[in-house]
Amino acid sequence: MARRHSEKQDDTEINITPMLDIVFIMLIFFIVTTSFVKETGIDPTRPKVERATQKPRGNILIGVTESGDIWFNKQEIELTLVRQRVEEATAESPESSAVIIADDGAPTGVVIDIMDQVRLGGVIDISVAAELEGS
């Protein structure tokens, strides 16, 4: 009697192995593709351009407001801190590139100073965020 009962249970049990396979593959996919992008905390008006490329590894985002204030990871920072922040970010993900999200009316001098600091921090691939014309 006991034996028959256990056999019945075995029959009705759902085989979850294929589901587990899928779940593990999804898990690995999301772990690999996740890059913890730190938002700048501001949304400046990006300049409109005709040709812009996507920056798939643009994990270091630095925002510049119209008045020249620098934002990183939802807080305003001084120019002298940019290098340190970039070094911390590259320690987390070494292959990241930097994107400076400068306002249309931000002073060029601040943007160039940030680029110098980012380069000193060890990131060579620097670009300035833009918006495609007509979008």
Binding site: F24, T34, R51, G105, G109, I112, M115, S127
Partner: protein, 135 residues
């Protein structure tokens, strides 16, 4: 004998339910935190602090942006819409020329980005920034 093996197998089976719980929580965490939004950007390259390479003056198309945002190409004031045509005609004469954009520190970053974009659209292979000494 057969029966003993069977009962042994049943005892040795590992309970995978807690592991499944953890895996699902991880999966949900990574799904929620993943962001696939990537910034659009224009690459800006700025010469580093290395000693400058000797570039023949004739091979450089110099674009100057002054404090108010006025664009000057070859000592002639130009509108942003005419930048592309100007660079194209200059490149037709000197196909290997590189474009150097020198912007005033207080000029709008948007104008700089647009000028670099127009230079790229015009077909310039090398576009670089130069610091304009503040008078």
């Amino acid at each position: 004998m057969k029966r003993r093996i069977h009962s042994n197998e049943e005892e040795a089976e590992i309970n995978i339910t807690p592991m499944l719980d953890v895996v699902f929580i991880l999966l949900i965490f990574f799904i929620v935190t993943t962001s696939f939004v990537k910034e659009l950007g224009v690459d800006l390259s700025r010469p580093s602090n290395e000693p400058p390479k000797d570039v023949e003056v004739s091979e450089v198309i110099a674009i100057k942006i002054d404090r108010t945002g006025t664009i000057t190409i070859k000592s002639r004031e130009t509108d942003i819409r005419a930048v592309r045509a100007n660079i194209e005609s200059a490149l037709a004469v000197k196909p290997d020329a590189s474009v150097v954009v020198a912007a005033h520190r207080e000029a709008d970053a948007g104008i700089l980005v647009r000028v670099v974009d127009q230079a790229r659209v015009a077909g310039a292979q090398r576009v670089s920034l130069a610091a304009l000494a503040t008078p």
